[in-house]
Every structure is written in structure tokens, then in C-alpha cells.
Symmetry: C2
Subunit: 513 residues, 2 copies
């Protein structure tokens, strides 16, 4: 018998990756909760991420976001993609959307979700999402950081929206990505209904009424339990179980809230109506406060169970608030993320800047703000670093950069770094910064380039957060420099671009005109 | 950007293990079905594994075992442990039970299942089962071959009985072991009821009536669907889904059948009653035929879906048929595995010799028999070899030896190899070869050693399959040689042994008296 293999059990470098799942740790590793909200705008909270308190900050109530902000760091320039799938595929693979090419939202296998366009053809993007294995067309294959966490000894829990791969592709199921527990996650990026009374989108005999019917919450059918609450109750059960395992846990608390439909969470509705809010705005406010209560319930669980001091909580949204459709929110279109312009689907700040908070007891300085920028793919290396997982192997290159130094105050990874977005698709709605474009953020400057027209917009973001003043005419040299960087990056990561129907030719890269 | 990481995506050595899940394959890798039956005796089938047809071979009907045997190799000396947990823990970790120390059955955390003994104290065995991570007392930590399969690109499905770790330990859930799908598997090694009419052991309002209530089959509650059929229907749904993923699949079809209780599967009951069988024997026969139908249904699925030629099926049982309890079977105790002596819980052949068949189209010679011996932990390296997974890392040493050469006819891994069993526990029932013993098989010879008394039994198995003639008196030199090998092995793998209550001293190893 060969004892060489037995000995390393105790001698292994801590948290080594690979298929070795039993790596022990010399120090206690932190639990990590990534609390991800869907379609939540930058100011959809009573906690102002801007320098001033806005109208919506006054209306909405998120006491638990305020509570966690007092314990940690608010990030005021945290970015995601403008749509859910690109963001979530960047999250799970650590790659920029320009590289993974899941640049619009996914749902059904081999079916694109783009609106047809009269002028441009959309490239053959990865409408099947991301996958953990080769073998499926139109997917990007990547190693999941969750699998690496699991391999290193974490207990991994998924709760809520997954939206990694299209239906019937290997990426559709969180279990395939290394999650040991999956509560209610599947291919869909939205939900049929928040209402237990509507069985979250199932008929009485259990048939889904939509591809967006929420799976796995059968025990709450016919009750008054709002989906946000049902997910929270199930997450807490999973945490109760996790505590017995004597492993650090990773909980991806990925709410379907505050995505439409605007069901009313009656626990909070009357309060907002009494403030004089319209039905729409009051309903929207209840989605927000229900989500916030969930955050508080998890924080309460941590405190009651003695895990608060050893748990990192990261709060994030996947894209900006929906502002391009009438019928959901009040007020003029594209104003709901004020002071930011536009919303979901847009490369304007309203579509990509997210409310983000990190609480890390003993590490993050309480009640502080960080104005350095970061991007959704940065979560991948950050979370692995937080968990002490090092020297891991991935099949894909990792574009993300750990923002741990921003939390520990030991460095500034944003210094000299550009951020990139690419959206060669036609999401569907219209509005400022929406569809067929790409963008770069370089220091204070941001350039948006429109594939169809060649139009370039240049903004100084700190000076003009609402992107009112296009300075492209005044600073042609900056436009040129940013166009070159953006074009160079997109080519380097083999990004896609639309083509002109009339000629069949690809639209020029930003530095080609 | 660093492209070094991207390039290996296509250049990776095929099926490399580690966290790289996307390793592509130059040739199509086979699907693998491990069809595991619970508590099935060697002759609980119409397919005789002995040289003669037995009474029970005549009574029971297993046409699909006959069908698969015509396509592949019957292994007539396939061994497991004498109890379920030791076997299943050896299966998932590739280690001998003497090493992993899960030497009796597991269920509840920190509770042993042993019967008290007046003479001997039972060692502090791993009554919490096996675990994929460190951190839980009284578990053996191992890397699962299923995780390695998943890492290499297999879609991994668990259906039925798991029984790897005790309730509330990390090993309790098949998802934790690398299974992407889990149908009805949990900590328990038995079942409360096969009956849909009894909700498989749940009250009308969904509360389990026992720790052995089968989870996850809610949709069949209140119907006449026998558990074996429900599991098969769910497995086939999982295969339908697997086919869409364009990955090879590994299905662990792990039936709760034919474990007690002896519920009647009414699809088959009348037929057996008409043969004149007693209620007990007829009910037992229906458990067997229901299991056999499941095998046939899976084979049918493979044929209909064009996967039969690319799928390996391995048929196996986890220990011998239950023969030490009155009230379930007819006839004198310890005779139900005839020609083998004793049954479940015993180190006599009736407790450890299993019906095993391997069908591997294009590789295994159809309709053949192999009389070389092998042991349950051999499945670990065998299945990985079948899947082409090489150079894998595990935290535990692998005791198993691949039996692929026996299938391909390229070698004989049993040549010169000894097999070992260790049972320092008190299972509970009594009978030949049951409790507080250990054993070695060396060529034709088998020695059983009893810790309490020091008694040693020696049998020439091919000449005396029923272990009627103890030759220890006639061949003291063989007894000595086998005692030395057995004692040496047990010490080498740090096996456990009972101790005497009277003195507190450990029972001697077999070569110490």
C-alpha cells in the first residue's frame, strides 16, 4: 500500500484547489453571503449612494441596508452589466461580458431574445449562456468559483434566481456549478409571480403557467407567503443545516426581487400608500422593503447563531432599475434611477451602476465609503481571496481583479485600470444608452460608442454623474484615446459586433471611425 | 491579458481531473450506469450465479438480468461488505472498510447502531459515515469518484438510496459527493414503505413517520406507484434531460429494493401466489421482479435513445440477502442464500458474495462468465478507468484495483491478491459468520477469525462454497499464513478491533494467537 497519498491529508497547503475537497484550514475561514438583488437601481433604497439624498431615497425604507452599511463599506462606483445574464455570467466565470459573449438575456435553448432590427444584424452571441462543460453550442465554458469554493471545503448554497444557462443546457442548474444546495434556481431570469396565492406561477395541479414560474417552493403554495419571504425562510433552513456541517458556508442569496411583476407585498403596502404614493410606486416600495427584510433576517440569524463576526456579507444588484417601460413605475421614462440617466439595458450610469456594500467584521472599516470603481467580474477573484482559495485552475482566463485591497486599505486595483462593456445586441426597449453599443470607463472619463451610427459620447462622470454634457466635441484627443483602448480591448478578448444588413459588413470598431 | 489560460482549453490532456470541468474528449466517452440493488442475495434471481440452478432461481423471475447477462460478463465471485454502509462507503471512497472504519450501519449523528455485548467493547468506529470534508468527528474523509467524474465532464445522477453519511453530517447528501442530480437519496439506508398509498412513509400533511421515510417522491403520493417504479420513472426523466446536455452521464441507480419491509408490489404479486408461494416469498419475489423491471426499463430507454451501444451497465448488490431474521422469509434461518451459508451481516459467503454483471458493448464479450474475485472498493478505480479519468488526486489512498482487465481480457488483477474484511462491531442479529470478526480471501482459501474467542475457520471456497468443512485443523500452516497476512493488513490500514470488557485490553489480532 502506498501511504504517500494519505500523508498529505494533514500536510496539504490550506485551501488548495483541485478535486481535493478536504483541505483543512489552520485559521477559521469566513462564511460568505453574496446578497444579490435583481434589477435594483442605484437609489432604490433609503441609503443614499449619491452625495445627496434623492426623492426615492426619501420614499423607500431599507433599514437593514443602513444597518449593514454602518458595519462596512459602501461602494459608490460598483458596476455590472446593463442586463442580468451578462452580469450573472460574468459573476460565475470571472470574465468580462465582451469575452463570454452572453450579451443579452437567455432563456430557451437556441432561441435568441433580441428584438429584430431593420438596420443591423446581431452577431451569433452566446444565447445559451455559460456552461461548466464543453459540448453545447453558443455557450461560454468556464470553471465556476463556487465549484472552487466547494472543492476547498465550503458548503455552497444557492437560493433564488440562477440564470446562468438556457433551459436544457448544462449550465441551467446551480448544482452543475458547484452548489450543493439549490433552492428555487433554474434557467429563468424572471418570475411569473411573487404570490403564494398564485403558487408562484403554477396551476392548482402543479403545472407551471410560464417558463418563469418559480420552482421548488411548493410548500408555500396557497399561502400568503411572498416569494421573497419564502426564499428567506428556506435560506435560513439551509443555514441551520450548514451550521451542523462544521464547514464555512457560501450562501448566494439571489433574490428574484425586485424584478417585475409589481406584485404587492401586503406586509408593507399600506404603509407606503399612507405616504401618498401611487399604487405602482407603493408596490415597488414593498418589493424593496421585502428584500431588505430578508437581509435583516439573515443578519439576525448570524447574530443569534454566533456567526456574525465570522461572516462577510456582500450586497449587490445585477443591473440598473427598469426605467424604459411605462406601466410599472411612475414619472417620465428613464428618470427612475436619478441622479443617474436611463436604467436597465443602458450603458448610461442608470443601467450599470449598482448599490453595493461589503461588511467584513474585523477587516472592513465600519461606516465607510469607497469611491473607487470595480466591475461585476471582480467578484470572482475577490470571493476566492476572501475564502483563502489560492492557485486555482480555471479553463477560462479571469478578467476580474480582486477588490479585497479596497476593503483592507492595502491598495487600489482601480488605479490605471479601465472597465469595459459590450452590448452588440438589441435588448428591445429604447432609451438613452440602450442597444448596439459599447463603452469604456477610464479614470474620470467614460466613452460610449454606438455601432450603428458611429456616434461617440464622452462624459466626465464625477463632474457629470447624470451624463448631461457630452464632451466628445471638446476633447477629441480623449475620444481618440478611449476609442483606441476600447477597440483594442474588444479585439483582444474576441468580442462580437453587429453588422449592417445592407452590406453584410461588420460595424466598425470604435477606433475604426 | 493572459492567454496562457485560454489555450489549454483545447490542448488539455483528455479527462484530466482537478477543478477543470471542461476537458473535452477526442473519442466519445461511455455513459455508465451502476445499477445497485440493496440486500439482494446471490441467488435472488432467475439467473444462476452458481454452477447449478437453485430453488430460488426457479421461483424468481428476472428476465432483464438474463437479458443483460447475454450482453456481458457475469462475475461469479464479486464481493462486498456484509452490511450496507461499509459497502457504500467503500464504493464512494475506493477504500477497504478496514481502513475507512465505517464497519456497521449509520443513521443518526453521533449514535452508534451496535447491539450491546456482554463480553466485548466495540471500538470507536466511524458511525458518522464518510465525508467529503474534514471537520466532523467519527467520519472517514475521502474524495468521491463521482466528483472526479463530474470534474471531468460527466453529468452525474443519483437515484435512490445514498447512505454515505449520518444525518446532519456533510456526507449525508449525494449533492455533496459530486452528484448533480439527487432523486430520493439521503442519510438513511432503508425505507419506511414502498407504497405510494402510504406516501413512502409520510403522513397526509407531509410529515415523515420515520427517519427512513423516502424523500423527494411527493408527486407519487397517494398513487399506487411502488417506490421502485417511482424511482425508475424519475431516473428516466433525468436521462431524458441528460441527453440534452450532450455530456456522457453517470447514473447511480441505487434501488431501495429489495430491502425490507416486504411490501407487495401488486403488479407481480398474483403471479407468484399462483405458483403456490407463501405470502412472504411471493412478496419478496415482487420486490425482485420490480427491481428487474426497472433494469429493463433503463435498457429500453438506452435502446430507444440510441445510447445502448455507448453505455456500460454494471449490476451489483451491496451485501447478501437478509437471512438472520424470522418474519420476512420462509425456511430455516441462514439458508436463503443457498448454496451460500448465512446472509447479510455475515462474513460467510452468503453475506458478502453478490450477483454482479457488466455489460460493455464492444468491449465485454457477450454471454460470458468470469470467476476471478473482486471487491466493492474496486468499483472506484474501475469506473474512473471506464470513463477515461486518469491521474486523479484523492485525499485518501485507493485500496481498490480496477477490474477493467477482467472485462477486456488483458490481465488478471486478482492473481496473487488477497481480499480483506473487518467487522469489529456487533450488527445485532446472530448466525454463522456474524459479528466481531474479520476475514481474508487468498486464492482458493478463506480464513475467518473471531475476535472474542480467537476461533479461526478455514475454507477452500471453490471446493466448498457452502463453507461446511472447516479445514483449519487439517492445514495449520495455511491458517498461520493467512492469519499473518490478515493481521498485517489490518495493522497496516490502521483497522480497529474490539476489546475485552473484563480487562479493557484489545482483542488480539488474528496472528497474535
Amino acid at each position: 500500500m502506498d501511504k504517500r497519498i494519505l500523508l498529505p491529508l494533514t500536510l496539504l497547503p490550506a485551501f488548495q484547489s483541485g478535486n481535493i475537497q478536504a483541505a483543512d484550514q489552520p485559521a477559521k475561514r469566513p462564511n460568505i453571503i453574496l446578497f444579490m438583488v435583481d434589477d435594483m437601481g442605484w437609489e432604490d433604497t433609503s441609503l443614499p449612494f449619491w452625495t445627496e439624498k434623492t426623492h426615492y431615497n426619501e420614499l423607500y425604507e431599507t433599514p437593514n441596508m443602513e444597518r449593514i452599511a454602518r458595519q462596512g463599506v459602501m461602494f459608490t462606483q460598483a458596476y455590472a452589466s446593463s442586463i442580468s445574464s451578462p452580469s450573472r455570467c460574468s459573476l460565475i466565470t470571472g470574465t468580462n461580458a465582451a469575452r463570454h459573449r452572453v450579451t443579452n438575456w437567455t432563456l430557451q435553448k437556441d432561441k435568441t431574445t433580441d428584438r429584430k432590427d431593420s438596420l443591423l444584424d446581431i452577431p451569433d452571441w452566446n444565447y445559451n449562456g455559460v456552461s461548466q462543460v464543453l459540448g453545447t453550442n453558443n455557450t461560454f465554458v468556464g470553471t465556476s468559483f463556487v465549484q472552487l469554493l466547494k472543492n476547498s471545503g465550503y458548503h455552497t448554497i444557492h437560493c433564488g434566481k440562477a440564470h446562468f444557462g438556457a433551459i436544457d443546457t448544462p449550465g441551467e442548474d446551480p448544482h452543475h456549478w458547484g452548489f450543493e444546495v439549490n433552492i428555487a434556481g433554474h434557467a429563468a431570469g424572471g418570475l411569473a409571480s411573487y404570490l403564494g396565492e398564485e403558487n408562484y406561477g403554477h396551476t392548482k395541479d402543479g403545472r407551471p403557467t410560464s417558463l418563469m414560474s418559480i420552482p421548488g417552493l411548493e410548500k408555500y403554495w396557497g399561502t400568503e407567503t411572498f416569494a421573497t419571504e419564502a426564499l428567506t425562510l428556506e435560506a435560513i433552513k439551509a443555514l441551520d443545516k450548514a451550521k451542523k456541517y462544521n464547514q464555512p458556508f457560501y450562501l448566494y442569496m439571489s433574490h428574484y426581487a425586485i424584478h417585475i411583476p409589481l406584485n404587492k407585498d401586503m406586509r408593507f403596502y399600506d404603509k407606503y400608500k399612507k405616504k401618498g404614493m401611487t399604487d405602482h410606486e407603493a408596490a415597488y416600495a414593498t418589493l424593496i422593503e421585502g428584500m431588505d427584510k430578508s437581509l435583516g433576517d439573515l443578519m439576525d440569524w448570524l447574530e443569534k447563531n454566533g456567526e456574525a463576526d465570522n461572516t462577510i456579507i456582500i450586497f449587490m444588484s445585477d443591473n440598473g432599475g427598469l426605467a424604459s417601460e411605462s406601466g410599472w413605475r411612475d414619472g417620465p421614462l428613464h428618470t427612475q434611477n436619478y441622479p443617474l440617466l436611463s436604467g436597465k439595458g443602458s450603458l448610461c450610469e442608470g443601467g450599470i451602476r449598482e448599490p453595493m456594500i461589503v461588511s467584513w467584521p474585523g477587516v472592513a472599516k465600519p461606516d465607510t465609503r469607497c469611491d473607487k470603481y470595480l466591475l461585476i467580474e471582480d467578484f470572482y477573484p475577490t470571493i476566492l481571496e476572501m475564502a483563502g482559495v489560492k492557485d486555482y485552475q480555471t479553463v477560462q482566463p479571469i478578467d476580474g481583479v480582486s477588490f479585497v485591497p479596497l476593503i483592507t486599505g492595502t491598495g487600489d486595483p482601480s488605479d490605471g485600470r479601465c472597465l469595459y462593456w459590450n452590448m452588440p445586441n438589441n435588448w428591445g426597449n429604447d432609451g438613452p444608452g440602450i442597444n448596439f453599443n459599447c463603452a469604456i470607463r477610464d479614470g474620470d472619463w467614460k466613452l460610449i460608442y454606438y455601432y450603428a451610427t458611429g456616434k461617440k459620447e464622452l462624459f466626465n462622470i464625477p463632474a457629470d454623474i447624470s451624463e448631461k454634457n457630452d464632451l466628445s466635441g471638446r476633447h477629441p484627443e480623449i475620444v481618440k484615446r478611449l476609442s483606441q483602448k476600447l477597440g483594442s480591448y474588444l479585439r483582444q478578448v474576441d468580442a462580437q459586433r453587429p453588422s449592417f444588413k445592407a452590406t453584410g459588413k461588420s460595424c466598425p470598431w470604435p477606433d475604426e471611425r
